[in-house]
Amino acid sequence: MIRLAFRNLFQNKARLAISVGGVALALLLILSLDAVFTGVERQITAYIEYSDADVWVSQAGVLNMHMASSSLPDSVARKVRAVPGVASVTPILYLTNNVVYEDERNLAYIIGLPESAEMGGPWKVSSGRSLPGKSEAIIDRTIAEKAGIKMGDEVEILGEEFEVTGLSEGTASLVNSVAFISMDDFEDLRGNYGTFSFLLVKVLEGESPELVAARIQAQVRDVTVQTREGFARQERRVVQDMSTDVVTIMNLIGFLIGLAVMALTVYTSTLSRRREYGMLKALGARNTDLYLTVLAQAILSVILGFLVGLVLTLLLTVVVPIFGSNLALEVSRASLLKVASVSVVIAAVSAMLPIRQIAGLDPAMVFRGR
């Protein structure tokens, strides 16, 4: 009966294409939306993950970098340096501004780096220097390419001209990018209030970042201390919490569409084979034998649809970045699992109509309708 399901399915190529295609597209809706958000999560945590810092210190109550602002007095750097287990600290200045070239503006996180900063700078440069000197800026390569900015060109940041002396990799996201200038320049332009934004901390060899973080939190007032992993997790949560409702709605819609297409095709397929199924009943096939066939057809279609949808999504993850919109898609395991379960439900539910059709088939019909 499984073989019959197989053969029935592949006999009508057009119908198979539509059922597989419809399911694939419906699942593509869900998978691609998930992939967009996962990709964004990955991008916005890149700076933190690659910063080389074990622990991050921010203003009390500030747990995020995106869509947040943090300010700490200079004295905090001294206090943190004195905490046992701390190997080195690097303060950075940070705010959201634009990198302007000719008429084009690119939203960017501007990081002000101290001289010979150990941490907090670009982790990979495709050309030029990896630390900005006076009046120099390091900007993201993909942003530069899109705007036609080359090494040595002048861009305007915080109202001042900077020479591009380095192009960094991995520092762009769908929303904005990261640009690096020297802390001195930053303070010149924004005013030196004796503060900095974040403190990046490296712990001594053999020390546990969690313990050192806890120590800093206990010994220094008015700060929030997080491990790199903890900080990254907070950032991801911003995207996750914001996207939950949208994702749920899209999941529902995708599910309904997939169900509609599957139910339709399995129904029309069973309908067109009524005579054959009726005849099988006359020959002695049990209802359950026929249910199995119809169910197998539904499951096979959905499996194929799932695979095609997955391949299409993976294709998108490869193709979309080529179009340079900095939209990066990433398929997560959780997303795959969710879509797989959705597929199973679709297969089961869509098989119900034809099962009822078959149950009602009168084997004596094999003689009628001549």
Binding site: L25, M67, S71, N97, V100, G159
Partner: protein, 366 residues
Amino acid sequence: MSLARRNLFQDKTRLALSIGGVALAVMLILVLKGFLAGMNRQITSYLDRSPGSIVVAEEDVVNLLGATSLLPEGVDEKAERIRGVEEVTPILSQFIILELHEKKQPAYMVGYDPELGGGPWQLVAGREPRSKKEMVFDRVLAQRHNLTLGDRVEVMGQDFTIVGLSSGTTSWMTSFFFVRKQDAENLLLAPGATSFLLLTTSDGADLDKILKRFNDFSDVNALTKREMAANDLKLFARIFSAPLKLMVGIAFLVGTMIVGLIIYTATVERQREYGVIKAIGGKNRFLYQVVVTQALFASIAGSFLGILLANGTAQWIMSARPQFLIVFDPVDSGQALLAGLGMALIASIFPTRVVARLAPAEVFRK
């Protein structure tokens, strides 16, 4: 046409499913577009409802909701002295992440002086902040987290008390909340700082001239509120347009496929009938009409149903999740109908080719 109708109605379930499929596709397209339209309205709500017609920002800043803006000292005095400027409203604003019930909620803090304006434009409860650490919170956001007047919310480590609830100040991504400018300065450790100046001009004032005066100053950038709002829209559109177009495209394809399947199988299963018609002299054109009519009927009925469904779904989404705003305008509905028609026509192509190739002798084949 009666042949078409008879064919299609002969199988009620198939008809229902085909209409349903198109309806779902059209509904999805409409809801997506309505979502985008609603989001755009929410994004520009502050600029739309705040005082003034000109915004003065830091040099190179053209968005309200993009880059941080910090104006150099003394700009507000300079502004007051410019001819045509009647009122100057300074605000200090910044994106903040609030932690509400363990959920991260991005919010846009506006620090303003209640006497000068720039705060909430519609209060549904309570009052504006008068003293330290008081805030006006968005009503929908408060409802989502069971907050009300008198409750405390932590902002950057400090507790603020909700003294007023505003409406029209939320979106699915962020919400606006309002505190006194001084409190904002304290939080951001930036005493006396100002992000933007909202300028109210006198009647008949020459806006262009005023803008030019400002842009002659270094360190600032002046633009009309409308321009700034448009920039904000562009910024968000850039982010959302690609995924949105993708979804709309997929929805259209799905609708087409469903109608196509119905018409195709109906056509194939009636090959003999059509063959007979051809054998007795019926022309291809007549049969094309039959096929296209079937597709059109399913699509039009499906489109109308889709529009109804979209409205119903939008109502349901907005009542279940009030932070979403979905607005439909007649243009979108018209486009949806067109989309439905488009689906019908494309879906008819393959089946009509089957019909065209039918030889009248088909009827005699076993």
